[in-house]
């Protein structure tokens, strides 16, 4: 009985606290939106932290949209999109979290470790580093837009977004398989076998509308952001596909069934990390209007899944191209111009060794490193030559695992002492 009372008391208290906290938040947000800072187009990243289901009551669908703090981070167009597509915001919040996680995983051993901060104080989620046009920023933009595309597409096939193409499109396929228009059907026949082939297209389109909407300026910086956003999306699109399988007598293909194959987001994270390692430094170059940008001409996906949506993209692409009077050219003229899936940047930061509040860099002081590693997490590299100290830590691990027939693995729990190194 006492226990129950105690719990109720706790719940009430936290409830009150929450209300207070939220009131403050609203005030802070108002300031945040008023203050001019760069990277304003990426304020939506903040909703990553709002959709967390760790709160006192489970979130009902649409609750996220009503949330004032979320509302404040969005632009008008983003708000309209969220209003028109129920469930979209949840998917985007999920995607943003996915991006943060993946970013932190990919950079766990590097000097810059993709740390996030409390966005509510009027600052960007990833800190001031996004005000710079450096490779790290390029990665952040690419991975967030990739993750949003990914999670929208996933939500789409799960039916969590009501306005998804998928459901609409789904009733159509018989038109194609009826064969009433002979010659036309042969071109599109491969992927018109029903099922949900278009949710990638939806994810791509909506992500583009939502993510790119902030980049309205005409500077090199906006162009860079757009390019990197697009790189992230294209990578997801190229990795995400519909898989089909033939069925028929002894391996013939009388009928076939299709289903969605969603890639592991880790795969996309790995690919983007590779792109980050090979990012192209660019400069703005004025160019004749006739010359088409090579980067955009090869963005036709090899995957025929996007055959239908693709034509729309290219049209829109052209419009966008004319909006800016310049193109991205490689800083080193001997390098190839950046492709659609390449990350681009135009400036480097002096380094990530020391704390630098100007750029929001936390430095590598106190970071864990590995004495014996030969990679980038080696202590000499990580600590920038400042040296490190070792600590002994007791680690609790599962050990002596034995496989019991069948099918159980039994392990002991061992406590071992391990040496862990931290930078000075």
């Amino acid at each position: 009985m006492m226990f129950v009372i105690r719990i109720t008391c706790f719940v009430i208290c936290t409830g009150v606290l929450v209300i207070f906290a939220n009131a403050n938040v609203g005030a802070e947000l108002a300031i945040a939106t008023r203050s001019k800072n760069r990277g304003k187009g990426s304020m939506w990243w903040g909703i990553a932290k709002a959709g967390e289901p760790n709160n006192l009551s489970p979130m009902s669908p649409g609750a996220l949209y009503m949330d004032t703090s979320v509302h404040g981070t969005l632009r008008r167009k983003q708000r309209r999109l969220a209003r028109e597509n129920t469930g979209l915001l949840e998917a985007i919040a999920k995607g943003a979290n996915l991006a943060i996680n993946e970013c932190q995983f990919q950079f766990r051993n590097l000097r810059w470790n993709c740390s996030t901060r409390n966005f509510l104080k009027g600052k960007n989620l990833f800190g001031k580093i996004v005000e710079k046009g450096c490779p790290e920023t390029a990665f952040i933009y690419a991975i967030t837009s990739a993750a949003v595309t990914h999670s929208i597409a996933r939500a789409c096939s799960e039916g969590a977004i009501e306005t998804c193409y998928c459901e609409k499109h789904y009733r159509r396929p018989q038109v194609f398989s009826n064969g009433n228009t002979g010659s036309v059907t042969t071109n599109v026949r491969d992927f018109e076998w029903g099922g949900c082939s278009d949710n990638i297209g939806f994810g791509f389109d909506v992500s583009r509308e939502f993510v790119d909407t902030g980049e309205r300026g005409k500077s090199l910086r906006e162009k860079m952001n757009l390019h990197n956003n697009e790189a992230g999306r294209s990578l997801v699109q190229s990795q995400m596909r519909q898989e089909c399988k033939c069925h028929g007598m002894s391996g013939s293909c009388t009928t076939r069934t299709c289903w969605m194959k969603l890639p592991n987001f880790r795969v996309i994270g790995d690919l983007l990390k590779d792109r980050y390692d090979a990012a192209t430094r660019v400069i703005a170059a004025n160019s004749g209007t006739l010359k088409s940008n090579k980067a955009h001409s090869n963005r036709l996906p090899k995957n025929p899944t996007a055959l239908m949506t693709n034509s729309i993209h290219t049209k829109r692409e052209n419009k966008r191209k004319h909006k800016y009077g310049f193109q991205l050219k490689p800083f080193n003229p001997e390098h190839k111009p950046p492709g659609v899936k390449d990350l681009v940047y135009y400036e480097m930061l002096p380094g990530f060794c020391e704390k630098n509040p100007k750029y929001g860099i936390q430095g590598t002081h106190g970071r864990q490193c590995n004495e014996t590693s030969e990679g980038v997490d080696n202590c000499d590299v990580m600590c920038c030559g400042r040296g490190f100290h070792s600590e002994e830590v007791v680690v609790v691990e599962r050990c002596n695992c034995i496989f019991h027939w069948c099918c159980e693995v039994k392990c002991d729990i061992c406590r071992t002492k391990k040496k862990v190194q931290y930078c000075f």
């Binding site: 906290a21 709160n55 409390n118 033939c246 069925h247 002894s250 013939s252 293909c253 069934t257």
Partner: protein, 472 residues
């Protein structure tokens, strides 16, 4: 209710919390597979098949009223044509099939009339020429010409995709044609309406199973009564079809992860192929039952609705390769046994088996991987029979594939030694099935046959070699 606590997120613990929670996203969960794969696959097959099923059920119901002969044949043909139209995607393949069906009839009829006329007018002088013409309509010539056409289709006339799309249909066509020519002969060759009714028969035009002309006519003469058992039999077959489809598309790759060892990976691919085959078999069973045909033996048994096409149990837990071959596609096996194996049997058992599998592979257009699989299957299964006979004789054990009835082996079938030997043979058969099954996966076209078999260390060839040495 405000459900939102901002300051929690600044601490490191909350970061840890995220990581744990979102770790799951990287693993495809049961729920994901169910939603993204199983439901999608079922929707996908529903879209392409529900019309076929409706047509067949309608046909089954209408024919149970007892239609006049000519109407029955034409209804059957029209339904079959309609099914072809809604299933095939390109007009080209559709045209190819119509041409094949109609031209074949014309050729055969021309040959037959020529034959008859010559017989009537100059019975004595032209006996030689006569037999030559008669020969053209005989079943072996039909076989050879079909084979040539199929190989041409595979390699010259059609794109690979187009050929793959219609290959199954053409195989059913050729089985029907050969059995028709062999059974009916020239004097009793069916009329055009009968021919169309049988060849375009809506029950088995897409996926088989092959039924004889006699069986086809049986349903016309004595229409089956449709009852609750009929509905249950269709539903059972459909359920099994969908089940095996989901295993083939989804569960196989969900249960066996990509980083297991190569034998398991091979098993996954082979399982996926086998279950895809069961899916087709049960789908074909559902379709032909819906159209009203059933096993001739139970034709007048209103409570038994069955037309067994395959037996997954015997294939998944095989006792011998030859059992697998028999149960893989029972009607097809019956066809090959009756029309090809028997014909070549005078040459000797081995040659008969070999030629049967060779012809079977030729009917697949002599595509390399299918031919390799089929011919190895023939040789492996034959060797296995020999080895088991040999062991049975030398050690006086009861381990023959088909247990002998009147023999008095010293080691009884219930003994441990006997069970163990059988178990070993079962395991070897499973290995063979993996070895052959991996080739049928779609990835073979990219990786190549050699790499695929090399991955499995050419295990079946070694088994075969050992078998061969034992027999020698």
């Amino acid at each position: 209710m405000v459900d939102y606590l901002p300051d929690i997120y600044t601490s490191d613990e909350s970061l840890q919390y995220y990581t744990n929670e979102f770790e799951d996203i990287f693993q495809e969960s049961f729920q994901d597979v169910w939603e993204n794969c199983v439901l999608e696959s079922v929707k996908s097959i529903y879209n392409s098949m529900y019309l076929c099923l409706i047509v067949n059920v309608a046909f089954g119901l209408i024919t149970s009223l007892g239609l006049p002969e000519i109407l029955f044949h034409w209804l059957s043909a029209m339904c079959g044509v309609y099914i072809l139209v809604i299933t095939l995607q390109s007009t080209k393949t559709l045209m190819v099939i119509y041409l094949a069906y109609i031209l074949t009839y014309l050729i055969i009829i021309v040959v037959i009339t020529l034959h008859k006329r010559l017989n009537q007018t100059k019975p004595k002088e032209d006996i030689k020429r006569n037999t030559q013409i008669g020969f053209i309509a005989s079943s072996s010539v039909v076989q050879y010409s079909l084979i040539i056409i199929f190989v041409l289709f595979e390699y010259i006339l059609l794109d690979k995709e187009e050929w793959l799309e219609i290959r199954g249909i053409m195989m059913v066509f050729s089985m029907k044609l050969i059995s028709l020519v062999t059974d009916q002969g020239m004097n009793d060759f069916p009329s055009f309406s009968e021919y169309c009714g049988y060849m375009f028969s809506n029950g088995n035009i897409l996926f088989g199973p092959w039924i004889s002309y006699e069986n086809y006519m049986y349903q016309m003469k004595y229409p089956t009564r449709k009852n609750i058992f009929w509905v249950l039999a269709i539903l059972r077959a459909l359920f099994l079809a969908v089940f095996f489809l989901s295993v083939s598309n989804c569960w196989a790759s969900y249960l066996i992860s990509d980083n297991s060892n190569r034998l398991l990976l091979g098993y996954k691919e082979a399982l996926s192929f086998r279950t895809s085959h069961y899916f087709i078999c049960y789908l074909s069973e559902a379709l032909i039952l819906a159209a009203g045909w059933k096993d001739n033996d139970y034709h007048f048994d209103t409570e038994t609705w069955t037309l067994s096409v395959t037996d997954p149990w015997q294939i998944e837990f095989p006792t011998a390769l030859s059992i697998v071959v028999i149960n893989w596609n029972k009607p097809m096996h019956a066809f090959f046994k009756k029309y090809i194996y028997r014909k070549w049997l005078p040459l000797g058992k081995f040659y008969a088996v070999f030629v049967t599998f060779l012809i079977s592979s030729l009917f697949h257009g002599f595509e390399i991987k299918v031919s390799l699989v089929l011919i190895s299957l023939g040789i492996f299964s034959y060797l296995q029979v020999l080895v088991r006979d040999y062991i049975s004789q030398t050690f006086n054990m009861c381990v023959k594939i088909y247990p002998c009835k009147s023999c008095n082996h010293k080691i009884r079938p219930s003994s441990i030694l006997c069970t163990l030997t059988k178990l070993i043979f079962s395991l070897l058969t499973v290995l063979d099935l993996i070895y052959l099954g991996v080739l049928m996966d779609q990835s073979t076209d990219e990786v190549g046959i050699y790499t695929k078999w090399n991955n499995l260390y050419f295990c079946s060839f070694w088994i075969m070699l050992i078998n061969f040495l034992i027999v020698k």
